[in-house]
């Protein structure tokens, strides 16, 4: 067979060079990284002719690869964390990462709340920790190029194990404070043991003005009868290209509730790959995305009902101001044996001005015959009659609009159980609206 030379874009060539020089310096097994990078290389950076990336053309967006960030000094880390604001007022166990590196001295690993164990990932990779065998539990993620890049380059992160009821929320704070553009690849693995419950908060912040390129993966394996409440906030800087993946494998009779709130980045893509692996589990995945200027926000979702009798609810709300672009791609997969599945997926977008755009792509892949599945997608403007009603009661137009936008996003946010986090998210929405007025 003749040799085939694949044409690479400059960014792909730069990634290959970066990987060659980094692979032996990064912690852990070179082989598994190389396998992931090889898988990535086979298809390269996804572009608009790749169906899952049709609306977010990474080849076009990712032209220059920023250098991967090195670990910050203790002072740099401290300053970065002090400046970070997202969900800062919520009482929680803080697990901070600065420039993609776990800030080891910020957490006393020997004195964690009962039921919580944390292992720094870089050390775990270097020493070949047992839990590493549980990485990559979801095949939909493993096949994804963004995820493959994270696996290739992951430099640090943590593995967390939760046993029993943990009342203190765990706040994973990701802060990129470098003045010039850097890339980061952080990996989190959370093992929620049978019967355990926990609230996980995740916030992502970076400095404005720099083309940061974070690529974060959070993987959660939740056992039977677990209860996981997950809140994620993208408050990245205004030039950031933020790629993120949440991979979930949830056991039976469990509750899992996740929301992703987008209030930052020039371009963002949040991918959720969820597998419901046990019966009678209840999954909720919500999104509340606020876009303005020329921002681009992509929420991509795959929910596989791999076991019967599960219920999933997906509600994504997107507010688009100016010429911003929103993307929602959601797929519910129901294999033939997953009878009595109940899945409902909804994406609603509100366009505040002419010139904005929203791309909705809901999909159902159903092979079982006794299921209830529904999806819906809407795009619209603020209701003129509602605006008049509010104005006739004395609210100036901007305030009336803000109240309606808050109400619109509020329907996705109201499912957040942690009151402090919920209030903070409402505050985030209010802040976004205030900046608009």
């Amino acid at each position: 067979m003749a040799d085939v030379t694949l044409m690479k874009t400059p960014a792909e060539t730069a990634l290959a060079q970066a990987f060659e020089s980094a692979k032996t310096l990064l912690p852990g097994n070179v082989e598994s990284r190389s396998q992931a990078f090889e898988l990535f290389t086979q298809r390269g950076l996804p572009h608009r002719r790749v169906e899952e990336f049709k609306y977010t053309d990474l080849r076009a967006v990712l032209r220059d690869i920023a250098p991967f960030a090195s670990a910050p000094s203790a002072d740099e880390a401290k300053a970065a964390l002090q400046a970070a604001q997202a969900l800062a007022g919520v009482e929680a166990l803080q697990v901070p990462f600065v420039n993609g590196h776990f800030v080891r001295n910020a957490v006393d690993l020997g004195a964690l709340p009962e039921g919580v164990e944390i292992v720094p990932l870089a050390e775990a990779l270097a020493s070949g920790h047992d839990w590493l065998a549980r990485l990559s539990p979801v095949k939909w993620a493993s096949e994804n190029p963004v995820y493959q890049l994270n696996t290739s380059f992951m430099a640090d992160g943590v593995m967390i194990r939760i046993a029993g009821t943990v009342d203190t929320p765990i706040h994973l704070r990701f802060v990129t404070a470098a003045a010039s553009a850097v890339a980061t690849a952080t990996r989190i693995l959370v093992l929620v043991e049978e019967g355990a419950s926990v609230t996980l908060l995740e916030t992502h912040e970076s400095t404005d003005g720099a083309n940061h390129q974070p690529n974060d993966v959070v993987e959660i394996i939740a056992g039977d009868r677990t209860n996981v409440q997950h809140v994620r906030v993208n408050a990245e800087g205004d030039k950031a290209l933020a790629l993120s993946t949440l991979a979930l494998k949830v056991g039976g009779e469990a509750l899992f509730n996740s929301i992703n709130v987008v209030a930052g980045s020039a371009t963002s893509r949040h991918q959720v790959f969820a597998v419901l692996a046990g019966e009678n589990t209840n999954l909720r995945v919500n999104g509340a995305t606020m876009l303005k200027g020329s921002q681009h926000g992509d929420s991509t979702l795959v929910v596989e009902h791999a076991a019967p009798y599960c219920e999933s609810r997906e509600l994504f709300k997107t507010v688009i101001d100016n010429e911003a672009t929103g993307v929602f791609q959601g797929k519910i997969i129901v294999p033939h044996h997953a009878q009595k599945t109940d899945g409902r997926m909804m994406s609603a977008a509100l366009l505040l001005e002419e010139g904005g755009s929203m791309n909705n792509k809901p999909e159902l892949e159903i092979f079982a015959d006794d299921v209830q599945c529904a999806h819906g997608a809407t795009c619209g403007q603020l209701d003129e009659d509602l605006l008049f009603y509010l104005m006739a009661r004395g609210l100036p137009k901007k305030e009336a609009e803000s109240l309606l936008v808050q109400a619109f996003l509020g329907e996705a946010v109201e499912f957040v159980e942690n009151e402090g986090a919920r209030e903070a998210l409402i505050g985030t929405v209010e802040g976004w609206l205030k900046a608009r007025a």
Binding site: L390, A392, R393, L395, E399, Q406, A407, G410
Partner: protein, 250 residues
């Protein structure tokens, strides 16, 4: 208090109000009756400031201020209140949040300080009690899942809180059962004062048994065609609007 002179209004090239003249004095309870399509609701929307209507001629003065030059929210702050025929449902906005936002927006527009939360709650509770509005209703999203009667009571609650000086009730009796009609009417009557005027729009005499008008105007084809005392309403109930439709044709 309210003076409307030669008001001509159209929507999408359709003439609705046709040189309407109307004066409502301070302390007066004025009723407008008329057949379907005579322009009653349009009149209420135009006074309140809905944008869809094109005002071709005329003026609307409230205490000498030209309402037509003001946005809807400015008119509200100036004292205009429209109780909607079909109050709108606002999912995601708790009734209490809505009430507080509107009350404070009007206070702010008038240069008054915002109400403290305890003061606000005290006022809401007092008004709610009079209108037999249960507290859990106030915690729900505004008008969402409310019955027709509950929605109308919520309109009157807003009126009681905002203390406007010119109140328009657009077919407030529609969709009300006898008990709700009594509660709503009592709520309106409690707000009658020498400084406040009302314009009550209705098809039926029934409401006017509860809210007794000082004057009754008959509207037809976008104009006030007859004005009288409360006995005019009884007369209309007996004879119907047929006479006035003829006027229309003439």
């Amino acid at each position: 208090m309210l003076e409307i002179k030669n008001l001509v209004v159209q929507i999408e090239d359709k003439r609705i109000l046709n040189g309407l003249n109307l004066t409502v004095n301070k302390g007066e309870m004025a009723a407008i009756m008329g057949p379907n399509g005579s322009g009653k609701s349009t009149l209420s929307y135009v006074i309140a400031g809905k944008e869809d209507y094109e005002v071709l001629d005329g003026e609307i003065l409230l205490d000498g201020q030209n309402l037509l030059e003001m946005e809807a929210d400015q008119r509200a702050a100036a004292g205009v209140f429209l109780a909607f025929q079909y109050p709108l449902e606002i999912p995601g906005v708790a009734s209490m949040t809505f009430l507080k936002a509107t009350l404070n927006a009007q206070r702010k527009a008038r240069g008054e300080a915002e109400l403290t939360t305890p003061d606000f709650i005290k006022r809401v509770n007092a008004a709610a009690q009079q209108l037999e509005i249960p507290k859990d209703m106030l915690k729900r999203a505004l008008n969402v899942g409310f019955s027709g009667g509950e929605k109308k009571r919520m309109e009157i609650l807003q009126m009681a809180l905002l203390q406007p000086n010119f109140c328009i009730l657009d077919e407030t009796d529609s969709g009300l059962d006898i008990d709700a009609l009594r509660i709503v009417s009592e709520g309106v009557n409690a707000l009658r004062s020498p400084d406040r005027a009302f314009l009550v729009i209705t098809h039926y005499q029934r409401l006017l048994n509860h809210i007794v008008p000082d004057t009754v105007h008959v509207m037809s084809a976008g104009r006030i065609v007859k004005t009288g005392g409360k006995e005019l309403a009884l007369e209309l109930e007996a004879t119907g609007y047929a006479d006035y439709r003829e006027t229309e044709a003439a």
